[in-house]
């Protein structure tokens, strides 16, 4: 066991650290989701995660691997449909809801496995184990490294794909980078906030950061800070008032968003 292991025996501390670690990834990634209007896209991938859970349990592989594969497949399927000229919201709607429905049906068909579905739908951050904690931080770290490394290209493609092409970049590849990182974040966040609220964890802190930011970099960093703050608050409320932690995190993030809206209203627009 690594150093500090004894301290990490505390389940509250583990929950807080899992939430903070995840927020480091959902902050900047959520900013891109907001800028590129991929909110519903993230939602579709998150819903598909339930199908991943069912398949993982059915084939006795790790839930993380199962959700990763299925959300990635869902993301690529939607991106493929969209590029073939299908109406984006229809394609997303079909993939999101059918994957969720297939997942729920598949889970019910699993024999000999008792599945606590609520844990996957709403998260179960207070039972995060040490291994899952390291995995969350490792995955989030990977995402942050990827985003920082590709930052210029991702931002340019977000401003305008033609502008990216003219600079010798390949925005199609950067779109794939975003889908891949989104799939990873969904797989990681399943335990923390659950499939139904992952999109909120991406969008709400980023939206809250918008009101305080003058540049994309500030917004991405602030989104991570707000997400981390909301995680601490959500877990804390859960300990004090026995509220569900995952939804509590989203409620806290939404309160920060409301403050941000008021803040923007009472000062000159930036």
């Amino acid at each position: 066991m690594p150093e500090g292991g004894a301290m990490l025996d505390d389940f509250v501390l583990r929950a807080v650290l899992a939430g903070v670690g995840l927020s480091l990834a959902t902050g900047p990634l959520g900013a891109f989701v907001v800028w590129r209007r991929m909110a519903y896209f993230g939602d579709a991938m998150a819903h598909a995660a339930i199908l991943g859970v069912a398949l993982a349990l059915g084939f006795s592989i790790s839930v993380l691997a199962g959700t990763l594969v299925v959300t990635l497949a869902a993301g690529l399927a939607v991106a493929g449909l969209a590029s073939r000229g299908q109406a984006m919201d229809t394609a997303l709607g079909v993939v999101a809801h059918s994957a969720l429905a297939f997942g729920l049906v598949a889970v019910s068909l699993l024999r000999g496995v008792r599945v606590d579905l609520a844990a996957f739908l709403f998260g179960d951050i207070l039972t995060v184990g040490l291994a899952e904690l390291w995995l969350t931080w490792g995955g989030a770290g990977l995402i942050v490294v990827l985003i920082v490394w590709r930052w210029a290209a991702l931002l340019t493609a977000t401003v305008s794909e033609e502008l990216a092409w003219s600079a010798g970049m390949n925005p199609s590849r950067d779109r794939l980078v975003l889908i891949l990182t989104l799939a990873l974040v969904v797989a990681l966040a399943l335990k923390v906030v659950g499939a139904l609220l992952i999109a909120a964890m991406l969008i709400v802190p980023a939206a809250a950061a918008r009101g305080f930011s003058r540049t994309p970099e500030t917004m991405a960093a602030l989104a991570a800070v707000f997400g981390a703050g909301a995680s601490v608050a959500g877990v804390w409320a859960s300990v004090i008032a026995d509220t569900p932690a995952g939804p509590g995190i989203v409620v806290a993030a939404t309160l920060i968003y409301l403050v941000s809206v008021l803040f923007s209203r009472f000062r000159a627009p930036v």
Binding site: W35, R37, T156, V159, E161, E162, L163, S166, A167, T215
Partner: protein, 249 residues
């Protein structure tokens, strides 16, 4: 060698043949204007030349290491994306503050660094787009309807600026436009496009071509003649460019 060359370029988009067998090339220092009615494939051709759209048939070659300064037709910066002018000038690559200031001053937009992109007027926005394109140190400036949303004097002034930049830096200019009577006199070559290349040549040759008149009507020819006449006698006057009214229709 050509900066950009396309041979036998055909492009199918959404099941429709948008471009058919287009040959195109542009050399260092040239100003080439592409004109054509709406839906004639002008923007599609530009995007194919940038490499954003793969050709269905034919080839597009760009000189190795070609630096492109691109000014898009419209750039909708999402309301959720905070972006100061200074930050925008560093897209895609970071530029030192001094270079940013010089580029802004060159296009007549000095001191806008701290403003949000979304707070700019149409004219300021186009100038900032141009400043950003200049910061790439371009071999070629590619501009897609850069004066859309500008009034006639604004458009004329914008084109004069482009001409000056070409003189100063020696970069080529590739322009898509519908402001026919303003643009054409400055061009070395005009390409009239309607899915395929209808006619091509000096502004005078193209404006006299029957294919061109069939596309744009006889009124344009008159405006062009008037404009050329003014140009012969006045190389400095700003107001003259604004006189012709719109004929592109």
């Amino acid at each position: 060698m050509n900066l950009i060359r396309a041979r036998g370029l055909s492009l199918r988009y959404g099941g429709r043949l948008v471009l058919e067998d287009v040959d195109f090339s542009i050399d260092r220092g040239e100003i080439v204007t592409i004109v054509g009615p709406n839906g004639s494939g002008k923007s599609t051709l530009l995007r194919a030349l940038l490499g954003a759209l793969p050709p269905s048939r034919g080839v597009v070659e760009r000189r190795k290491g070609l630096r492109i300064g691109y000014v898009p037709q419209k750039l909708a910066i999402d309301a959720t994306l905070p972006m100061t002018v200074a930050r925008f000038l560093s897209v895609p690559f970071r530029q030192p503050p001094q270079r940013r200031a010089v580029a802004l001053a060159r296009v007549g937009a000095a001191g806008l660094e701290g403003r949000q992109m979304r707070a700019l007027s149409g004219g300021q926005f186009q100038r900032v787009l141009l400043a950003r394109a200049l910061l790439a140190g371009p071999d070629i400036l590619i501009l897609d309807e850069p004066t859309q949303g500008l009034d006639q004097p604004g458009a004329a002034e914008f084109y004069r600026l482009i001409e000056e930049l070409r003189r100063e830096t020696g970069c080529a200019v590739l322009l898509v436009s519908h402001d026919l009577h303003v643009v054409m006199s400055a061009s070395d070559r005009v390409i009239c496009l309607n899915g395929h290349i209808c006619c091509e040549g000096s502004p005078q040759v193209v404006s006299a071509a029957p294919e061109y008149r069939a596309l744009f009507g006889p009124g344009t020819g008159g405006a062009l003649a008037l404009y050329r006449h003014e140009h012969d006698h006045d190389h400095n006057g700003a107001g003259e460019h604004a006189g012709g009214g719109r004929d592109a229709g």
